[in-house]
């Protein structure tokens, strides 16, 4: 009988327990054993309260019951992100998890919209997105599976209490045989011949040996950085925010089905509604404002009563040069940091885990898997990075040194090409792989006021009056669909109380 491969996850928290739950759900038990080491003395950052729809797939893979999950993590349902003051002060738009309109006689919807829009007769493009209208009305219902129905044109995600997600997953993972060990890593032992990690020693004297180690120790990177010196690629010249001050506040009513990101003088503020509280935080650049001012701005822009003292987090935007080094894979904040402007933290953690599972070594020489993994994760991080930079760069704000800097800074060529392409005739650069697809790019380009110089011509033969009538019909169809939906508050309460099956 073959010996089981031993996987040791170092660090609990969201990343650690996501890894433990996913690995224990996916890997054949007869082949692998999974240990997780964490210490109650080390707090968790608990970032990533807002998520993307992809998390639902991971939850399904893990076998999470949605209702149980909503209850356990005090989650709310999420249809997108509202961006306030980004294009310019006083402007707002919603980046929805869904499409804008429908293709009309071969012409993409946004091209039709652009054709009709020189005199603004088509109105805001958000009007033709069902999830945007649902957000504005505070409504929620689950999408239908019939792709022909307008009510199938969106996805949804969750906003949840990250401090409760880890314990929720822990229960599932331990139920599947993951062994948890309490302790703090005191020493890391490496093989003299190749530098692989052989074992870790804990402060309580315990020794854990492993074939593969997963570093979920957050910014500290106890294994990936302190031991293996995997290096860090700094992107703060493109994403200059380097601190966040966070504080929970009392829940407000109604609970809205979206996250809000409000741009301020030198950064932006998140507002994430949960069932029992509101998550708030101000992400800012310490080169442009100090901590006191950042906190004052945050306090001045919170609706409810504060439920704790604000705490400051420091970070450096970028990624590990090697996400996987020797026999150690970094997951979560140990692998890099991109500000949570588009709720990508948990998604990148999820990607790290699923890619590791897909590339689990099959022999002692894991160099090919490692190189492949590093290439894939670098590509994912870079594509998310470009999308985040877009939010800062495509702005007309000139009210502070920060905005003047990000508006005029040099950006990666990969992003500049995308912007140039869209600016010309509204075309969105096409990629098969990558997180953000055309509707997301459209939402930010158009939402921040980057209107193409002209439409691409695909709708040029179509009659304006007929197109306007089609848009009016769509507007009405969406309006009617939204009117039939329950309010998010009510839907959520019913779900939590009775379970989705009863809906």
């Amino acid at each position: 009988m073959r010996a089981k491969k031993r996987i040791v996850i170092v660090g609990g928290g969201t990343a650690g327990w996501m890894a433990a739950a996913a690995l224990s759900a996916m890997l054949p038990r007869q082949e692998f054993s999974i240990d997780l080491v964490e210490s109650e003395q080390i707090g968790i950052i608990g970032v990533g309260e807002a998520t993307l729809p992809h998390l639902r797939h991971l939850n399904e893979t893990i076998g999470v019951d949605e209702t149980e999950f909503l209850k356990a993590t005090s989650a709310t349902l999420k249809l997108g992100i509202e961006f306030v003051n980004w294009g310019d002060v006083g402007e707002r738009y919603i980046h929805p998890f869904g499409d804008f309109g429908r293709t009309i006689q071969g012409a993409k919807f946004h091209q039709v919209w652009r054709k009709l829009n020189p005199d603004a007769s088509a109105g805001d493009i958000g009007k033709y997105s069902l999830p945007v209208r649902m957000c504005e009305a505070g409504k929620f219902d689950f999408p239908e599976s019939d792709y022909r129905a307008i009510t199938s044109t969106y996805g949804y995600a969750y906003q949840f209490d990250a401090t409760r997600y880890a314990p929720f997953l822990r229960k599932i993972a331990e139920g599947r045989g993951v062994r948890r060990t309490e302790g703090i890593v005191n020493a890391v032992n490496q093989a003299s011949e190749n530098g692989d990690i052989v074992s870790i020693e804990l402060d309580n004297g315990a020794l854990l040996t492993g074939d593969y180690f997963i570093d979920c120790t957050g910014f500290r990177g106890v294994l990936i950085d302190q031991t293996l010196k995997a290096g860090y690629e700094n992107w703060s010249h493109w994403l200059p925010c380097d601190r966040a001050v966070a504080v929970p506040s009392a829940a407000t009513s109604p609970i809205l089905p979206y996250t809000r990101a409000t741009a301020h003088e030198a950064g932006w503020q998140w507002r994430i509604p949960l069932q029992h509280r509101m998550g708030n935080g101000h992400v800012y650049s310490s080169s442009f404002i100090d901590d006191d001012k950042a906190e004052a701005i945050l306090r001045a822009n919170i609706e409810g009563e504060l439920k704790a003292e604000p705490r400051v987090l420091r970070f450096r935007t970028g990624r590990r040069k090697q996400f996987w080094s020797r026999n150690c894979v970094s997951v979560g904040l140990a692998s890099g940091f991109l500000e949570p402007l588009e709720s990508t933290s948990i998604h990148l953690t999820q990607l790290a885990i699923t890619n590791f599972i897909e590339l689990l070594p099959v022999s002692a020489d894991m160099s090919r898997e490692r190189d492949e993994y590093n290439a894939i994760m670098a590509r994912e991080f870079e594509r998310v990075r470009d999308f985040l930079i877009l939010h800062y760069h495509v702005t007309r704000r000139h009210d502070s040194a920060f905005w003047n800097h990000v508006r005029t800074m040099e950006i990666p060529t990969t992003l500049q090409e995308k912007i140039d392409l869209f600016s010309a005739r509204g075309r969105v650069a096409r990629y098969q792989q990558g997180l953000f697809l055309e509707p997301s790019w459209l939402a930010v380009y158009l939402g921040q006021g980057l209107i193409p110089a002209q439409p691409d011509g695909s709708a040029s033969q179509l009659d304006d009056a007929e197109l306007a009538a089609r848009l009016a019909a769509l507007d009405s169809e969406i309006g009617s669909a939204v009117s039939r939906m329950p309010h998010h508050d009510n839907k959520l309460a019913a779900l939590v109380q009775a379970g989705r099956a009863a809906q």
Partner: protein, 411 residues
């Protein structure tokens, strides 16, 4: 003052130029003129195989399967038979097996193979047995295997295809210099023509044969009235041009990349180039951002096409060697950013060439041995029932002839 694009001039005497004229006329409605450098069409045998994907693209452009089947010589195809000194392997179009437990079927097959299974990977397509027994049927979702369908392509006589494509397109002699042509957009689709050699022999078979030779491969493509044969070998002129779209000039097909491509991919790539061009075609002026988007996507597609072709022809291509090394190690192919060549293309071609991975994905073990054996057995049984119901190719062709004849009478 921006100038509307109203006229497109296409340079070339072969199928690539005719395809360009046909697709662009159908899909843009613009005024198209083709300028030919020779009076007789320059026809190449590389455009004899239409893959399932090429058929779909042609359908979008307005040339349906029914039309193509009606062309003299057209013969339905299930894929290719690959013959080397060591083995003969069947490589049907379409997928094989079911991705149980979220893992690619080839990992399960590999595991079963290591446990003693003797059947090739292709045996888990209904087309496999049909190819051995000279039977044919198009995919039919209503049958016992539901979504687990094979796919079908078509062999067409280049002359017949050419004639069908040029119906209704004006052709003018090409002046000595290409820049003498006046148009808002100029498509260079000039291609090298190989002599068409139709052999009278060869029975009707629903597949092409790729036979390894000392210099490369000999490709035999059966048609209704004989077979076309041509050599596939690495060329000297296989450099990609860097910018196929410059200003208002676009090079398509061999004019942009003259390297060899696998049978079927030669035509599919031209259709892909045209689809991409239509997608990015402006109604006025060619914007540098659009041309560079075309060039970026095109370069990536051609690099992948070249890498897959190198798998057959050998030669220096870092992508090929790196990907093959990884595949042979553990059956993994990275998801690709391209349309023409996908990760699953790599899996089927690598296995058809007997590049069998050393290890399977450990996630296959989520199905225990007994369950895997049972699932494979049941799957195979259903596949065999379905493929056993395929009629002999000759019977299928008679039915097609009858149907087309009836439709002609009706018309």
């Amino acid at each position: 003052m921006s100038r509307p694009i109203e006229t497109i001039a296409i340079l070339g005497s072969g199928i690539e130029a005719a395809l360009s004229a046909f697709v662009l006329k159908q899909r843009t409605g613009l005024s198209i003129a083709r300028f030919a450098e020779t009076e007789t069409p320059a026809l190449s045998p590389v455009h004899t195989v239409l893959t399932p994907s090429a058929l779909q693209r042609l359908e979008t452009a307005g040339l349906g399967l029914r039309d193509l089947l009606a062309l003299p010589g057209s013969l339905p195809s299930l894929g290719q038979m690959i013959v080397t000194d060591q083995q003969t392997s069947c490589n049907p179009f379409g997928s094989r097996g079911i991705d149980w437990a979220g893992i690619g079927f080839h990992h399960h097959w590999l595991r079963a193979r290591q446990g003693g299974l003797r059947l090739p990977y292709a045996a888990f397509s209904p087309a496999y047995r049909a190819m051995q027994e000279n039977r044919f049927a198009p995919p039919d979702q209503r049958n016992l295997i539901g979504p687990l369908q094979h796919e079908s392509g078509l062999h067409v006589h280049p002359e017949a295809l050419f004639e069908r494509l040029v119906e209704g397109t004006s052709v003018q002699p090409l002046a000595a210099a290409a820049n003498a042509v006046e148009a808002d957009l100029v498509i260079d689709a000039r291609e090298r023509s190989n002599e068409l050699q139709i052999s009278a022999q060869s029975g009707e078979q629903p597949f092409s044969t790729w036979r390894a030779s000392t210099t490369g491969w000999t490709i035999t493509i059966p048609l209704r009235n004989g077979a076309l044969e041509y050599p596939l070998a690495g060329g000297d002129e296989d450099q990609l041009i860097k910018q196929p779209w410059r200003g208002n000039q676009v090079s398509i097909g061999q004019a942009a990349y003259s390297g060899p491509s696998l049978p079927g991919l030669a035509t599919e790539r031209v259709l892909h180039e045209l689809d991409l061009l239509v997608e990015l075609l402006p109604d006025r002026d060619c914007h540098p951002a659009e041309t560079s988007q075309y060039n970026r996507i095109w370069t990536e597609e051609m690099n992948e096409l070249r890498a897959l072709t190198t798998l057959y022809l050998g030669g220096d291509d870092a992508r090929t060697s790196e990907r093959l090394r990884m595949f042979k190690h553990r059956g993994y192919v990275r998801p690709l950013d391209t349309d023409l060549v996908t990760a699953s293309d790599w899996v089927v071609h690598a296995l058809a060439l007997d590049h069998v991975p050393e290890h399977f994905d450990p996630l296959s073990m989520r199905l225990d041995d007994a369950r895997l054996k049972q699932e494979l057995g049941q799957l195979l049984q259903r596949i065999n029932v379905v493929s056993g119901e395929f009629p002999p190719l000759s019977v299928y062709l008679q039915a097609i002839d009858k149907a087309l004849g009836q439709s002609r009478e009706t018309a």
